[in-house]
Amino acid sequence: MSNDVIRVEKVFKEYRLGMVGTGTLSRDLQSFWARIRGKEDPNSIITRHSANTSRGDREELRQHILALNDVSFNLKKGEILGIIGSNGSGKSTLLKIISKITTPTKGEIKVKGRIGALLEVGTGFHPELTGIENIYLNGAILGMKRAEIKGKLDEILNFAEIEKFADTPVKRYSSGMYVRLAFAVAAHLEPEIMIVDEVLAVGDAQFQKKCLGKMEQVSSKDGRTVLFVSHNMVSIKQLCSRCICLSGGRIVEDGAASRVVDAYLSRTLSGDANPAERKFKNDPSKEFQVLSVKMLDSNGKVSREFDCDQPVTIEIDCVSRSAIPGLYGGVDIVNNEGVTVMVSDTYDFPPNCVDSLSPSNYKIRIAIPPRTLGHGEYTVSLGFHGAHSPYIFPPQFVCSFRLSDNSSQRGNTRAGYLSTLLKWEIKKA
C-alpha cells in the first residue's frame, strides 16, 4: 500500500484559449483581487461552471478549456506505465505537471523520490560547445551533479558511440550522432522516477533497440518507475505493464497495457473517429506544418474504402515557412493489431525531397502500389523531424483506411499481411 511512488489526486488543469490582449489585464486584476480576498476566481470554469453567469462572462468562460479534468491514479515502485491518447487528450499536460514544468490548477500530486523528465532529448545543447561540454551542461540541466557526470563520462561517450568526436563542437555532428549523444546523457540519469515522452521515435532502428533495452533494464533491474508516453503502440505493449488512456483530459481506460492498447486502437480505427481526411489548425508560428492529410483513390477522390487492385494514395498538404536543415518525413502503416506493417520515409529515394525545403506550400503524394497490403483496417501514422529538432510534426495517427480484396479467389478470407499475388509458374519437368 505504501508501495506507491506517485499518487495523482483529482488533478485539473485549465487553459485559457485565444489571444492575450488588452482585455487580459482587467481580467487578471479581477482574478487577483478575488484571490487575495480568499474568494474563488470568477474567471475559471472549475469554480464557475454551475453558477449563474451573465452573457459576457459566458463568452469569456467559453475560451477556457480543461486540459486535465479530474485525473487520479497511483503508481507503484518499479511499474512501467504507458500513457496513450490522441493529440490534445492531455498526455503532455499530465507529464508537464508531474515533472513540475507547470502547476495544476487544482488537485495534488505526491511524489516519492527524484524525478527525471525526458520530454525532449538534448535540452540545452549548445551547438558551439563540444560533445563533452554538452554532456556536462545537459546532464546538469537534467539534474545530475558534476561529479556524477564525470564518473559516467566514458560510459556515456561509449553508449553514444562518439568517442572519436568528443572534442568536436556538436554543430558539426551528423543528426544521428547528435541524437545518440543526447539520449546517452538522458539514459544515464539515475532518478527513481523516469518520465519519457516519445524520445524513442528518433535514431535508427538499432539505436532504438538499444534505448528500449536500457529502459527495460532501468525498471526491472534497478527497480525504477517509468512513465512512458508514446504513439507507438507496439513499444507500449512491449515495455509497459500497465497503461492508461486519456481522452479529453479524462482517464477513459486504466489496466493491463495490451488490453488498453487494443481498446484504444479499435476505437480510433472505427470510421467515425478517424476519417479519411484530416485537417490541422494553421499555426503561422511553426516553421513547417502539415495542413491536411487525405486518402485518395485512383480517381483522386477522398475515400477510406479501397480495393486491393487499386493504388492507395496518401496526399499531404504542407507548408514550409523557413527551410529546416535535415528535415525528413516518415509514414507508418499500422494494422488493426497495432503492428507496423510498412514504413516509408523521404530517405527511401535519395535525395531526401523535403530536406531544407524552401518556403512555400507543397503537396506530397505517396502511393502504395496495388496488391501490396492485405485486406483489413489500417491506420496511417505520419511524422516530420529536423536534424536537430526531432518533433517538427510529432508522429501521430492521421488517417485510416480499409482494403478489401474483391478479385482474387480467396478474397477477404486470405490470411497473411500481404495481398501480393504470386504466379505459380509451371512446366513439365
Partner: protein, 287 residues
Amino acid sequence: MANDTTIEKDEWTSHIKADTKAFNLDLNELWQHKDLVLLFVYRDFVVNYKQTILGPIWFVLQPLLTVITFTVIFGNIARIPTDGIPPVLFYMAGTIVWTYFIDCLTPISSTFINTAAIFGKVYFPRLVVPISIVISSLLKFIIQFAMFLGLLIYFIYQGMPMKINAGVLMVPLVLMQAGLLGMGCGILISALTTKYRDLARLVAFGAQLWMYATPVVYPVSQVPAKWQTLFYLNPAVAIVETFKAAFFGTNYPSIFHLSISVLMTAVFLFLGVVVFNKVEKSFMDTV
C-alpha cells in the same frame, strides 16, 4: 486508517499542487543546483567569443570605445566638469560599474523568453539562470576592472595625486549590491514580460534614460543640493558614487543616502523574487 495516512505523509518527498504562497524561495534547492549555475556561466563565457576574431578583447574594447565617445562629447564638447579627475578615468569608472549593472539587468529581463525552450522541457529552480548571468557579468567586469586599474596606475605614475582610500574595502559589497539590484529589476521585468511583451521594448530605452539619471557622465556635485535626496532615490547613484569615492577620493554618499540605496535594492529584489516565483510556476501556459 487514520494512522496510515499520517505515516505516509512523511514519506512523500514532494507535493505538486497549485501554489498559493506568495514568497517561496527555496535556497536549499538552489544550492543543490550550484553545478548548473557554474556550467551556465562557463557556457556563456565560452560561447561569447567562439568564432569571433578578437575573442575576449571585446570585453575591453567595448567600454574603451564608450569612454572615448564620452570623453569627446561630454568632456571636450559639452565641457561637463569631472571633479578634477582626468576625464578618461572619470568616465571609465562610471562606465564599468554602470555596464556591470546593465549587463545583469538586460539579459536577465529576457530570461523567460530566451530560455523558454529549456524551461518548457525540464524543471530546475528558474532562478539558476539569472544568478548565472550575474556571475558571468561579474567575470566580464573583472576584466574591465583590470583595465581600469591599469589606467589608474598609469595616471598616478604620470603625477595624478594618489587618493585611493580604505573605501576600496567596500567595493566588493557595492558590486554585490549592483548585481543584486540588476537581478532584482531584471527578474521583475522578465516575469512581467511573459504576459505583457510591451515591457521588453521599454528595457533598452529605459536603461538609457536611467543612465542619465545616474552620475556616469557627470559628477554628483553638479546636482543642486536641494535635489540631492530625490536624486539618491535612484539606488544606482550611491553604487556609482561609492565606487568613484574609493578610487578618486571624492565625497562618499551620506549614511542616509546609502541606506536609501540599500533599502531600494532590497525592495526590488524582494518584489522580483515574489513575482518571479509566481510566474515560474505557470509561465509555460502563457509564453
